[in-house]
């Protein structure tokens, strides 16, 4: 799918421009603090919480969202899993081909699967896409598939 290939080929500035300015500012700070480590920066976003502060609201024991789980869902989205057929069609049919729109659709769809809001997921989607490193979608999907089958044969977890 051309739109998904294009989004993976986008450079860092373009992708960061697809999220809100306040989010991009935080992500740039994470990247600066981690020497451009996209995955560590994704973890920093997902695990962010003001230090030494007891929370006075929300639900206890709510499941945490892990980066690996998000990556699995991103793989399903990019690599043609039927779970996201309608969302990919939405992107293909739209006249809006901007990175902002595509990241928005991906974040909303993946967030829905994981029980998280799209605006919370979007910066992590951007960082995970950056971690792919401008590889063609098909090549990345094949690489992920190979990695899984190798892990399966050896009995090693990824």
């Amino acid at each position: 799918m051309e739109e998904l290939n294009n989004i993976i080929q986008s450079d860092q500035e373009q992708l960061l421009a697809s999220i809100d300015d306040y989010q991009a500012e935080i992500i740039k700070s994470f990247l600066s603090n981690t020497s451009n480590d996209f995955l560590q920066s994704a973890d920093n976003w997902l695990n962010a919480s003001p230090a030494n502060t007891a929370k006075f609201g929300g639900e206890q024991n709510k499941a945490k969202i892990y980066r690996d789980k998000l990556l699995e869902e991103l793989e399903k989205f990019l690599c043609g899993d039927q779970q996201y057929d309608e969302d990919r069609k939405k992107i293909a049919d739209s006249t809006d081909k901007s990175q902002k729109y595509i990241i928005g659709v991906m974040s909303a769809a993946i967030g829905k699967t994981l029980g998280a809001a799209g605006p919370f997921i979007a910066p992590v989607i951007v960082l995970l896409i950056l971690s792919i490193g401008k590889m063609a979608v098909n090549a990345w999907c094949a690489m992920r598939k190979d990695a899984k089958s190798t892990a399966g044969n050896s009995g090693l977890a990824q």
Partner: protein, 217 residues
């Protein structure tokens, strides 16, 4: 500070469950149509079945009935999230707005008097809008994922349900912050006695500067 009308801008956030509405914390109407602010941990960044709960019976000038737990639910969705500062902006499909003047921690000095308005104990189902007054005890930087942000220490004990409560400068009702919890080494959660973490029973409340809300709307 004028308290009339605060019941029209401060509500509880809840989630609809098979057993009814679970109240999660406090939120308040911003000065842009349909937008409300709360703490991101109140919503857990999860849109599912999220609602604003409005009883219409929380006027601070009246006697609020503690036995009356009826109210209206308004579907809400997460519009913006900043997990570093623990801020969530909610959106409802309704063109309502407040006339809040939004400032930040820079607009108050240590010793200034402030008002906190929210729903203490709403997580236990108690939907009573409550006003507290206190003073700013300190201005601090609190770190989250290596980013330090401006916070206020309020010299008052707060309780679960008050996350998301607005803090007003008493002399002119300017919004200067929002409650996010209280100081506990490591964030707490280790000990619970009858559902209460004894580490939270003190007068060191953490509030994030509302200047970060301004950046999100």
């Amino acid at each position: 500070m004028e308290i009339s009308g605060l019941d029209k801008i401060i509500y509880t956030v809840g989630r609809i469950t098979p057993n009814g509405v679970n109240l999660l914390g406090t939120c308040f109407l911003l000065n842009k149509n349909g937008l409300l602010a709360t703490a991101s941990h109140v919503t857990n960044n999860d849109n599912n079945n999220l609602v604003i709960f409005a009883s219409g019976k929380t006027d601070l000038n009246s006697y609020q009935d503690t036995a009356d737990n009826q109210g209206q639910t308004i579907p809400a969705s997460i519009y913006k999230v900043d997990p570093v500062r623990d801020i969530c902006i909610l959106k409802i499909d309704n063109a309502v707005a407040s006339n809040l003047s939004i400032g930040g921690a820079d607009d108050v000095r240590v010793t200034d008097n402030v008002g906190v308005v929210g729903f203490p104990h709403c997580v236990n189902g108690r939907n009573i809008l409550t006003f507290q007054s206190t003073e700013v005890g300190a201005k601090v930087l609190i770190e989250s994922s290596s980013i330090k942000s401006k916070h206020l220490i309020l010299n008052i004990q707060t309780r679960p349900g008050q996350s998301g409560s607005p803090i007003f400068r008493l002399n002119d009702s300017k919004l200067i912050g929002m409650i996010i919890g209280s100081y506990v080494p490591g964030g707490g959660g280790g000990i619970s006695l009858g559902g209460v973490d004894p580490h939270t029973l003190h007068q060191t409340t953490h509030a994030v500067s509302s200047e970060y809300i301004l950046k999100m709307i």
